[in-house]
Amino acid sequence: MPLLTQRIQDESVQYSLVASLDNVRNLSTILKAIHFREHATCFATKNGIRVTVENAKCVQANAFIQAGIFQEFIVQEESITFRINLTVLLDCLSIFGSSPTPGTLTALRMCYQGYGHPLMLFLEEGGVVTVCKINTQEPEDTLDFDFCSTNVINKIILQSEGLREAFSELDMTSEVLQITMSPDKPYFRLSTFGNAGSSHLDYPKDSDLMETFLCNQTQVNRYKISLLKPSTKALVLSCKVSIRTDNRGFLSLQYMIKNEDGQICFVEYYCCPDEEVCESEY
């Protein structure tokens, strides 16, 4: 076999990750939902890609882009992990402009050769191809929140519409967002304690916004508002949100996001409760 052909063949085989997408916005939208820090860690398996962003060792956001979203998705290794600058990645993905032009789609082919190699992006729109190489970084350990569904105490699924406004109007002078979930009144309450005074937002359990209300025990937890505020990005895109707390007061927010093609993706936020409260309480 001639050397040249051999090399080419090798190269095509060498990519440990190849993913193609007809509409790059299906990917960029969901990545934007977790874009609150510069860097993200990507895990890829046969099932899809998980992109994780963390902050302050207290909050973690995961975007799940399942293989079905991609038109082509090949993973040669069992799993691939790398860290990448998410800002740069998003900039590249929207290199043809972030607002969609009607009738034109940007197609994407994403290749990764393996550890130590850059992530290659081939973006095509209207016959113009852009090649981006983004250097990957040493993967970092991600937090394990050990959020086990068996430990879930309270769970609420809401139409995102009902929370959207609440989150966008959060009193940011308040340091914390207090979430009360209870089988009795006030059922589900979001409270802030700002300079101007406190405000409470109550959702009755029989509200039409409430898809599921499964609360076993009254839980009042406070979360740093600065850590939760970024989740608004995901909230805005989502159609439903599941709010769960476990026995330690850890919060899990799962957002169901419908992309332009009607496929469903999930974005998940985990957040640790604020311990300050406990000190003041006792």
Binding site: E165, T180, S198, L201, P204, E211, E281
Partner: protein
């Protein structure tokens, strides 16, 4: 991710009781478990693939997860701050701003609640019940009413919360603090700007509300002052307010020191804002529209459209009547030096026909701040009311009023004391009076001096950044005691010492040649045996 599957399954089928447990075997590590859960979620969505889709072995390449810091579990919550005892309880509802025609009919009843709507109900479209009718023990909010198609209601109906919100928005263009005063004759919202050159007041009659209860007889009426920002945050998004809020309930209790604003929204969502407020004296400006010789009145829309072309950055506008009794609005140029920089002058000329009333001599013009004027205009436009402008000679405050059977709005804006007579090209203006005519209630000149001192003192305090200062306002009639710590007035270009402006404090609205209005504090008779102190509605020309 595992919980999505049962969660959404349960949506499709009948609700499953209890939290679903044990979706994933515990032995898997967090990261992998999550990914596995994810895959099961995909299956749930109808993705092809058997349940046993191969998972990556956890051990091979997944980094062991770092434990997240553990937060202690919290015990039971403290009782949240509830609604305070009802010192004053104001209930507003989605009662519309009624057209005048039906307002008269309502008059017979003591409250809107009791008569008005019922009389109208027959005419109304079917009541639109919002979903998720709140089931709280409190008075249930009324279903939203639609305008009766038969009755002409200019501008459609506005839920009171919305009208209230719009009023707050227009007030927020003026001052940083909102004075809220529940009185027998209604709820008054007032504000004054930091340089005291603008004052605004809205009075919402009890009929405006679905239910209105001022202080019980014998009780000290409450005056409260809250930060505009915090009150505004309640009504921040007017579009949202219009769309989702069904009832707004405001209650004020002296004991809890909290102003409680409750918004009952769609889907039974209830927002409760407990706002901190300060006890304060009543803010009162003394002005009398009747004393102004000139008056013009026009639908707010006419004036609103007239100010639309003016640049947003424009500070002042001159309003006057030119030849042919045309009303002229013109952007105000500060002086010759500046006019080269601002090359554009915008002028709008309105015919007499557009005005409902025009009682102004030709050649008369006043200049006032546009921002505040826009604030009132946008309010008046949104409730589709007519705006009356009362004014006098330049330098004396102009009074802008909107009136309805249930509400009343007054904006008092200082006018430039020395408009360029040629600026409007209006021909000869009345020569400016060197001494402004004293109003009947104005105090002797000596007192003016004292008040002005106090005024500038207060302005300095309010803008010096001391948070205590604005609250620690001297009460009662101003004493000449504290001398103004501010620097003496900068030398004025006016040859007339009379016109020297008080002090220029950074951050205050454009002092220019505006006479600042002085508002003394009026104590309630209970607290102040002397009774209300005399106040001026115009600058007292301290240096004079």
């Amino acid at each position: 991710m595992g919980t999505w599957l049962p969660a959404f399954e349960s949506l499709a089928s009948t609700a499953r009781a209890g939290v679903p447990r044990r979706e994933v075997p515990r032995r898997w590590r967090g990261v992998c478990r999550r990914l596995r859960g994810q895959s099961s979620g995909w299956r749930g969505r109808g993705q092809a693939g058997p349940a046993c889709r191969h998972q990556p072995s956890p051990s091979s390449c997944w980094c062991p997860g770092v434990r997240a810091p553990r937060g202690l579990r919290r015990a039971e919550a403290k009782g949240s701050a509830g609604v305070g005892e009802a010192g004053v309880r104001l209930w507003s509802a989605r009662c519309p701003l009624r057209p005048r025609t039906c307002a008269a009919a309502d008059r017979c009843g003591t409250a809107w609640d009791s008569r008005g709507p019922r009389g109208l109900r027959a005419l109304e479209e079917p009541v639109r019940l919002s979903c998720g009718t709140p089931s709280h023990g409190l008075r249930a909010p009324r279903p939203r009413r639609r305008p009766p198609p038969g009755l002409a209601c200019p501008g459609g109906l506005h839920p009171t919360g919305c009208v209230l919100g719009k009023a707050v928005h227009s007030l927020s263009r003026i001052g940083d603090e909102l004075y809220l005063e529940p009185m027998e004759e209604g709820l008054s919202l007032r504000t004054v700007n930091s340089s005291r050159s603008a004052y605004a007041c809205f009075l919402f009659a009890p009929l405006f509300f679905q239910q209105y209860q001022a202080a019980t007889p014998g009780q000290d009426p409450l005056h409260c002052k809250i930060l505009m920002k915090s009150f505004l945050s309640v009504f921040r998004s007017l579009a949202m307010l219009e769309k989702t809020v069904e009832t707004c309930c405001i209650s004020l209790s002296g004991r809890s020191s909290r102003l409680v604003v409750q918004l009952h929204c769609r889907y039974g969502v209830r927002k409760t804002h407990n706002l901190a407020f300060q006890d304060c004296e009543s803010l009162q400006a003394v002005f009398d529209p009747a004393s102004c010789p000139y008056k013009l009145c026009a639908p707010a829309r006419v004036l609103g459209e007239a100010v639309l072309p003016f640049p947003l950055a424009l500070a002042e506008v001159t309003l006057g009547v030119g030849a042919g009794r045309r009303v002229i609005l013109r952007s105000y140029q500060e002086d010759e030096a500046d006019s080269s920089l601002k090359a554009m002058v915008t002028e709008m000329s309105l015919g007499e026909d557009d005005f409902q009333q025009l009682r102004v001599r030709e050649g008369v013009a006043v200049t006032f701040c546009l921002k505040e004027f826009r604030g009132l205009l946008s309010f008046a436009e949104s409730v589709n009311l007519s705006l009356s402008v009362h004014f006098d000679t330049p330098g004396r405050p102009a009074i802008f009023t909107v009136e309805d059977s249930t509400l009343d709005g007054h904006f008092v804006l200082a006018t430039l004391s020395e408009p360029d007579p040629h600026s409007l090209g209006l021909g000869s203006l009345e020569p400016r009076r060197p001494e402004p005519r004293l109003q009947a209630h104005s105090t002797p000149h000596q007192d003016d001096f004292a008040s002005d001192d106090m005024d500038s003192y207060m302005i300095t305090m309010e803008t010096s950044g001391g948070s205590e200062a604005p609250w620690a306002r001297p009460s009662g009639s101003p004493s000449p005691g504290p001398q103004p710590p501010c620097s003496p007035a900068p030398p004025s270009e006016d040859e007339d010492e009379d016109e020297a402006e008080p002090t220029t404090v950074p951050g205050t609205p454009p002092p220019k040649k505006f006479r600042s209005l002085f508002f003394g504090s009026v104590l309630t008779p209970m607290r102040s045996p002397q009774g209300p102190s005399s106040v001026l509605a115009e600058d007292s020309d301290g240096e004079g």
